[in-house]
Symmetry: C2
Subunit: 347 residues, 2 copies
């Protein structure tokens, strides 16, 4: 089958790989309908994070169950499913805590020895604990909903998780740092799922802030650093915001998050700290901050998000502003790397 | 009047200072019954934190109201009161959030231009918002309760706050890093106030761990660093603990806190990060930790803690293992510096 392969920084190709197949009785094989490129895929593409030459790419996909192992009980061939970007058994202590990303039998699609989402099919370990069926079979699911459903496999759930970690609830005022797909989905999750009243989006790109506004952002701040902090403080009576979503993961974004949080406030951090920033603790201590970090346990949120999408009350689909075939994946990476696309869908 | 004065690192004296007096209509003057030396006072005593020569010392005291300003309405001369280590108006946005340590009109006793607790009397700004009366007059309060009441002015409330920040509730398992007075009070607060079921105290001093056990610690771990982490993990089925109180504030104690926390767990940090440790964010991110820091808003906890003490259900008094007169304050600092005393009460 065909799948995207990492060659080296800046060089991604599509090549022939062994067909996805059942190798454990708890596996399923999913024929990919749509996959996409993640902001986190860019870390290796940009040479910031090492990745083995020839390794598979992609961890977000929706598709149709093609085969199931002997022990899989909740899925049937033909089911339309969404996969979280990590698989999990959904029964271990961490999963029962709702932290499926810490599953003792879990793993990430695209890691060495596994299939990536950017390919024609994927072997899904722990299928019962991982995949969530949108519908028995594919009937009744309009392809127009595929982008929204695909977004739940990572960015929609991750953005929402950031808002949850930041303690957002009905009526909250929240600032979102980062206007990538995760930041934009944090806006949508804060407003549509959690009932935030006011969302301040930090964004300096017109296309992204437009989506942010359509997702419910009430204000957009283009300034960064100290100026961005000052602007947010001015909008909040000098006090700062109670809830900050950090959806970037760099030293600068952390400084902004700490600087704009109200005393006693909460930061929800879902930006992967790839550059290993270190957080000076004195300011958070003095200002009595709650700092909540974590890889989003997408599996926890999937059923609810899928219900909202199928019910027509949630549509994160607009985060995909470019769409192309799998064979054009190199162009997709280049578009995201150059920020000419927010997020690229592959089909 | 007489008061303790900082001369230089390792050198503390008692000298003559101007009498405490009302200077604003919201002030009260409190005649000190008992005060004490804080672990945080040792930072300047040890030369780690700068302090102006001649500055006043101490921020914990109980006493009797001697005079009140024209606008003070909740207190009367003769009332026995407890002072939190910071004053606050208890009406500003931060105070209404229960973060009185961020009060816009607040300050710390012993800061430049203010009276310290280690003296014969103290001018208390914002007296209505700061002081809590144990009783009208001093009658009905046995001097045997003074140590317990004095402990609420900082360490008891701070220890409890650490457990609150760590999310401790009925039935919790919690690890407490630090066997100073704050750590010991975290044990007591977790067990007696919040209903924790199991408290693992990290302590290598026999006298301190004995108090910890009497306060409710179920296990004591003497190991530090990686060995301490391994010991706590072994006691918790390899998973780590859901709740960690960090009551030291050093790089090593933070490494231990992160290392022993269960995935999805919470760290409550009340150890003042004087040495400005920086927290590497990758591990807390991967392990999905909630990190909650803050100077304890003692004022929030005072009424409840005082009720428990007067009702005989809470007694943090044993954290004071040495008692001496104000004139002997230099000996008190030396005793705490050399760890021959946990906490010194002055009268």
């Amino acid at each position: 089958m065909r799948a995207a392969l990492y060659v080296s920084a800046g060089n991604v190709v599509v090549g022939e790989v062994p067909d996805a197949s059942i190798s454990a009785p708890t596996d399923a094989v999913v024929r990919v309908l749509r996959s996409c490129i993640c902001g986190s895929d860019l870390w290796s593409y940009r040479g910031i994070v090492e990745r083995a030459a020839g390794s598979r790419l992609g961890h977000e996909f929706i598709g149709v169950v093609e085969a199931i192992g002997a022990e899989v009980t909740t899925l049937r061939p033909g089911d339309l499913v969404v996969a979280p970007f990590q698989w999990s058994d959904n029964t271990c202590p961490a999963c029962l805590d709702g932290i499926q990303t810490s599953c003792q039998n879990g793993g990430t699609f695209g890691a060495p020895g596994t299939d990536g989402g950017q390919g024609e099919a994927v072997r899904v370990p722990r299928a019962d604990g991982t995949l969530v069926a949108v519908a028995e079979g594919t009937s009744g699911v309009q392809p127009s909903l595929y982008p929204a459903l695909l977004a739940t496999s990572d960015v929609m759930a991750t953005g929402l998780h950031g808002a949850v970690l930041a303690g957002v609830s009905e009526g909250s005022t929240v600032a979102v740092i980062g206007d990538g797909a995760v930041g934009l989905c944090a806006v949508l999750g804060a407003v549509s799922v959690l009932g935030a009243e006011r969302v301040i989006l930090l964004s300096r790109h017109a296309d992204r802030s437009a989506i942010g506004r359509s997702f419910g952002a009430s204000e957009v701040i283009a300034e960064r650093g100290e100026a961005g902090i000052a602007a947010v403080r001015e909008l909040t009576g000098g006090l700062g915001v109670r809830h900050v979503v950090e959806a970037v993961g760099t030293k600068q974004s952390w400084e902004m998050a700490v600087g704009m949080a109200r005393d006693g406030g909460s930061i929800g951090a879902v930006g992967v700290p790839h550059t290993a920033p270190e957080l000076p603790l004195f300011q958070p201590f003095i200002h009595h901050l709650s700092i909540n970090l974590g890889i989003a346990p997408v599996r926890r949120y999937l059923p609810d998000l899928m219900t909202r999408i199928m019910g027509g009350t949630l549509n994160p689909g607009p985060v995909f502003d470019a769409s192309m075939g799998l064979e054009e994946v190199a162009r997709g990476y280049a578009a995201m790397d150059s920020r000419t696309a927010i997020k690229v869908m592959l089909s």
